[in-house]
Symmetry: C2
Subunit: 202 residues, 2 copies
């Protein structure tokens, strides 16, 4: 099992969300989805936005790196005209669906709107479109997303991320080991596979 901690506003999360289910299947491991918000974590470090927005040189680099990485993985890429994008509503919906069979498709659809289609994602329109394409009960899910209990769940989740020592996204947790960044997805999957094989041998 691999825990995938991600934020829909994070461009490197895009590279991992698009690939993780397929990679996990190849390694015979399951994915546990852990949507959270990076914003409060950045705030706790004294930053009011992403380091890619705050540090000019790093930002310039990232927008040079992303199209190359997308080419490498065969993923579409459209430079986001807004960065980082807020993703409160789609993240609450992801929390509601994180154990459902549609969560992978939903996550890929939402984060593709951000980084392949350059669209706002923190809107009822965007989320409704994603949900209805998947044949899901849009109104019911939107209502639940706006429940106080869901809002609290997202605050708790982000607090848990901090308690795990998570400082960026994507981050993968495998049996107490942490792997930060899309560049470590393959290593995390390989570790998850060998861990589960070792357990099966006991």
């Amino acid at each position: 099992m691999i825990e995938c901690w991600f934020d829909f506003g994070s461009n490197y999360s895009y590279l991992s969300l698009m690939r993780i289910e397929q990679g996990a299947a190849l390694h015979g491991v399951s994915v546990t989805w852990r949507p959270f918000l990076l914003g409060p974590i950045f705030k706790s470090l004294g930053w009011d936005s992403s380091p890619f927005a705050l540090q000019e040189a790093k930002g310039n680099y990232v927008w040079q790196d992303m199209p190359r990485q997308c080419r490498k993985y065969g993923l579409p890429w459209h430079h986001p005209s807004q960065f980082p994008r807020r993703a409160l509503l789609p993240t609450r919906i992801a929390l509601l669906g994180e154990d459902e069979p549609w969560i992978g498709d939903y996550c890929r659809r939402i984060i593709s709107m951000n980084f392949a289609e350059d669209r706002e994602i923190d809107t009822v329109d965007a989320v409704s479109e994603a949900l209805s394409e998947l044949g899901l009960p849009v109104d019911k899910l939107l209502r639940e997303a706006n429940d106080d209990s869901t809002k609290q769940r997202l605050r708790d989740r982000t607090q848990q991320a901090m308690e795990h020592g998570i400082f960026g996204a994507p981050t993968f947790l495998v049996k107490g080991s942490m792997y930060w960044g899309n560049d470590r997805l393959n290593e995390a999957l390989a570790h998850a596979e060998s861990t589960s094989l070792r357990e099966a041998l006991i």
Copy 2:
């Protein structure tokens, strides 16, 4: 040709300095060594040390990541009891030797003292040991390293790094393309190879 911008105090520079000459040979490209100091760049961002020292969660992660990466590459690793280490003298010597045939061996020796042997490197002892192992004129090089012209060259070099938009180490420059981090070394080498082949075809 690949430009390798590095800092002897940077742990991810260790992973790249140990591998780049061999990797470059496999790709048929030459290495241009670009020693510089990250400290002034961090200072320009308002930081008085490395982000790995300033951000606790990130630091904790990096010391979990490094032994794994070293295992992957078959490199020795000893957690540095001091981080980041100052490297003024060894960097000035690297500047003097950057076009010499001994530069690769010298860089590997110095950065191994830091990350494989947990030794101070900003000392006459450490640098003398490295130079004499390579059969080089220790006294002459130490004298030249302390010349005002060498000190100015290092300041200029670090200024050039900033002008290139370099914000971390290692950073690889290939014909105007930037690759940041040891995780991008292979991509940078592949790009350097295809660039030189393309030029040969014109």
